[in-house]
Structure formats: C-alpha cells, structure tokens
Symmetry: C2
Subunit: 324 residues, 2 copies
Amino acid sequence: MYSFKELQHIVDTAIKKSVYPGYLPELYDPITYIMSLEGKRLRPCLVLMGCNLFSEDIGAAVNPALSVELFHNFTLMHDDIMDKAPLRRGAPTVHRKWNPNTAILSGDVMLVEAYKLMAKVSPGYLEKVLDIFSRTAALVCEGQQLDMNFEKQELVNIQAYLQMIELKTAVLLGASLKIGAVTGGAANHEAEELYGFGKNLGIAFQLQDDYLDLYGNPEKFGKQVGGDVLANKKTYLLIKAFELAGPEEEKTLRKWLRPDAPRPEEKVSEVKKVFDALGIPEKIREETALFTSRAFTHLDQVAVPAEKKYILCDFAEKLLRREK
Amino acid sequence: MYSFKELQHIVDTAIKKSVYPGYLPELYDPITYIMSLEGKRLRPCLVLMGCNLFSEDIGAAVNPALSVELFHNFTLMHDDIMDKAPLRRGAPTVHRKWNPNTAILSGDVMLVEAYKLMAKVSPGYLEKVLDIFSRTAALVCEGQQLDMNFEKQELVNIQAYLQMIELKTAVLLGASLKIGAVTGGAANHEAEELYGFGKNLGIAFQLQDDYLDLYGNPEKFGKQVGGDVLANKKTYLLIKAFELAGPEEEKTLRKWLRPDAPRPEEKVSEVKKVFDALGIPEKIREETALFTSRAFTHLDQVAVPAEKKYILCDFAEKLLRREK
C-alpha cells in the first residue's frame, strides 16, 4: 500500500514530466502554468488509491490520475473566466495573466488532452472508464451551470444547493475513486460503492468548507474569515439561515446582504450572530456528519481487507478534520 | 451505396432526434440551437461515406458522424466568442443570443457529448477511433490558435497560412473520412489514404473559399463580394499579393489596409486590381488544383471498386466547383 504522501509524490512527478508541444506557447503554456500551481492533488491521488485497493501495481492508474487532474484544472480555468476570478491558489488566473480567449482555447485543448490520457488505460477497461469519465464531466458542467443560476436567484433551497455541490464537486471525487478501482480490476459493485464513498465524502467536504469559512481557525484555514459572508455567497449557512429565520432574523440578514451594506467586520459578526441564534453551526455539522456516515456505509461494502481501507479512512479523516 | 442527399437526410434525422436533458435549458438549449442552424453537414456525411466505401451497413457510423458534427459546432461556438462574431449562418451566435458564459459552458458540454457519441463505436474500433478523434481535436485547437496569432502579426507567410488552414479546417475533413472508414472495417493504410484525400480536399476547399470571396458569383456564393478584403483578412490572396508585390503595389495595398481607409467599394476594386496585376487569381487556382490533385492521388490508392469511389469524386467536384 502506498501512503497518501507517496501518491502525491507520484502525481507531482508525473505532472512535472508532462510536456506539451513547444511550438504554440500561447496555447500550451497556460496548461503547464495552471498544473504547476500548488494543489493537494486530491483527485489524482483518489484514482491511485482506488487502484491500489485492488492492485499492488498502480502504474496503470497514473495516466487516468493525470487525466482527472487535467480535467479538474480545465474546469477551474473555464470557471475562473465565468466567475471573473482574479486569483487561483494565490496566483493570477489564466484569463488575467493571458486573456479570456487564451483561457477558453487552452481549456478546450486541456479537455482533449485529458481524454487522450484517459484513453491510455488498458483496452479492456477503456469503454467502462470512458463512460464514467464522460458522464461525470457532463455532470460537473451541469453543477457549474446550477451554481451560476443560483447567483441570479434570490432564493435557493437546501435541496437544490446540495444537488449543486454534488454535481460541481462531489461526483468527480467519486468518479476518481471509481476509475482507479476499475483500472485495478475491481468488480462493478465495488467500484460503485467507492463512487458512493467518494461522492458523499465530497459533499461532506464542501459543507465543511462552508462551515470553516466562518467557524474555522483563520490561521489554519488560510482564508479570510467570513469571506463567503462578505461576498453574499449562497452557502449552506446562508440558505439554511433563510430557511429557519423568523421575520426579525430575516430582516437583519437582508439588511446586511444589501450591496451597500457598510462596515464589513460588523457585517461578519452580525450575520454570524444570526446564524448562531438559529443554530446553523449545529445544523451544518449534523449535515456534514450525515454525509460522512453515508460515505463510510459505502466503504463498508467494499470487500477488501481493513488494512487496505485504512488509507481511505485516514484520507477522509484528514479531509474533514482539517484546520477546524 | 447511399447518395450524398440520402446521407444528409440520415444525418439531419439523427440530429433532430437528439434530445438533451430538459432540466437545465441554459446549458443544453444552445446545443440544440446551434445544431439546428442550416448547414451542409459535410463532416458527418464524410464519416458515413467513409464507412459506406467498405460496408453496406452504415448504421455503426451514425454515432461517430453525429459526434464529429457536434465537435465541429462546439468549435464554432467557442470560435465565435473569441472572434466576437455576431452572426453564424445568418442567425445570432450563441454568445450574443445568450451570453459568453453560456457559450463557454455549453460548448464544453458539447465536447463531452461528442466524446460520449464517439465512444459508442464497436469496442473493437474504440481505441483507434478515439485516437484519431482526440489527435484531430487538438490540431483543430492549434489551428484556431494560429489563426488568432495571425490577426496580431503584420506579416504571415504562405507556408504558415497553409498550415493554419490545414489544422483549422482540413484535418477534420480527413479525420471524418478516416473514422468512417475504420468503422466500416477499412485496413489501416486505406483509412490513412482517405485521411490524405480529405485533408488535401479540405485545403483546396479553403483556398477556393478565399478565391470566391473576391472572384465568385455573389448571387451563387451568398456572401458579400470582397468581404475578406473589407475586413483586411489575411487570406491566401492578400498574403500571396504581399509576397509578390513590388514597392508600388505594396504601397497601394498598405494604403487600402489602413483602418481609416475610406470608400469600401473603391477599396475592393482597387485591391482587386493589384491582385489581378500580380496574377494572384491564377496563383490561387494553381494552388487549389495542386491540393485537389494530391487529394485524388490519395483516393487512387484506396482499393475499392471505382463505382464506390464515385460518390467521393462527385462530392469533391461539387465542393470545389460550387458557385464559381
């Protein structure tokens, strides 16, 4: 069994070795650039872990692992254009460092490159792996569409929000494990359970992210406290708060959500007071625990020795316990 | 053997039958929209023709044919954003009718859908077909990048221009035939010759397009005479003219290429006079004939009965003789 650190090292080495044609730097440099930005490489490591559960030799999973990471970064490159984001992992986004056209076209060729790598799996697994990959890719696009729709909607319900994070974030974690499992020779039902594990873990992870924005230790979390609150982002916290708010609390929330609301620090603390009064932190922790528990129910169904599952449990723990 | 008209009908019927999820109209309606715009369906028909050369049953080629048409329209959707084009086939472009974000994300999901359809070929051909498709898709992106680079360059040489149209337009025609041939059971070398036929025909076709802009019958060609000249587009005509121009001709060309050049009608006729004096119409006709002849040399190498090749010859003739 490989440790998570070892897997990260394998992924990073493979990424550093990836070479794109040198004769069109405008097209290919942004790929090297975005792939070189610091990242936890969760998805490619999940591919390798999925494989490693069923096979000691994870060599066959390296190309699909890189493929999933390329795909993920392609979605970031295009999402950043759509969201007009200036920064990604602390560095300028591709559409800012170059321009939006470059980000569109480099992203397109990244998606093609992701398919090229995915197509390198053993021919016997090709059909199955491609089916998982393409279906997931379409769902991720749907998730981004839902997220953009939410920006324009006044009210979003929790159910729709959970569906959005499932599509935008969670299915790719599930698919990464599943693709890895397939390349490791897993049976269909085991690959499916791992998908369920990854997907539910992904939802829990995103909920945790929403929670930590306001309730995390800023030094460990590494982001501005209440960044989502300041940006009026429709996270689980805010949506749940509107769901549970009485007239007074709703009035307070609406006041602070106005685009011309003054005093950012006061905004964060006042909104937090409303959340606390409504018991939102407990609600989101319960919801996170629910999805985590669902994830582990799926993992229980996978018939590999407990010591092999340990790395996945450990991964889940670290993911969900990080910097609280 | 199916006639071109019959193949167009098969393609149109299959496109009309394509249904995308109804729950996210913002994402999927633009696909239905761009696919419904009138088009000649050259590429999917080439897939079917390629198959029909080797097999009477072209059923297996319908999904890859649709895939290639989806891919082509995906490139149009994204190119139109990059080129800020207001119209496509006389109708508003997706980024104008909706917005650029919609055109980015719908395009992305179109590329995924194209892969989904391509992956439906018989498992025995999947690896080969995907390899052709992905390699071609990357080349088409490179062609678009070269085209965008040319916009910013003052001087472009003929060699670079020919490479650009090969990548942006011609390789997909070649790949369409090749993919069809593979699904029809062609041997590798025959599929390769068909690729050569399609690619060279594609270059000839694009050169013809450049020629017809200024020398075509406007009623038959259906575009404004000299549209490329008015837009200062770096077509074969203009690039060759700069290559052959003496100081006087170059001065005249530069005068009319200035952004503030007055009197559009005079511009077209004066630029045309320079082209005529330099013998550009003859040059481009020679070049077109050269690529056409190369195309047919490839077709000669394909060992199927002459009557089966007839539809391809007829197609090539119609493509190149159209509305002169």
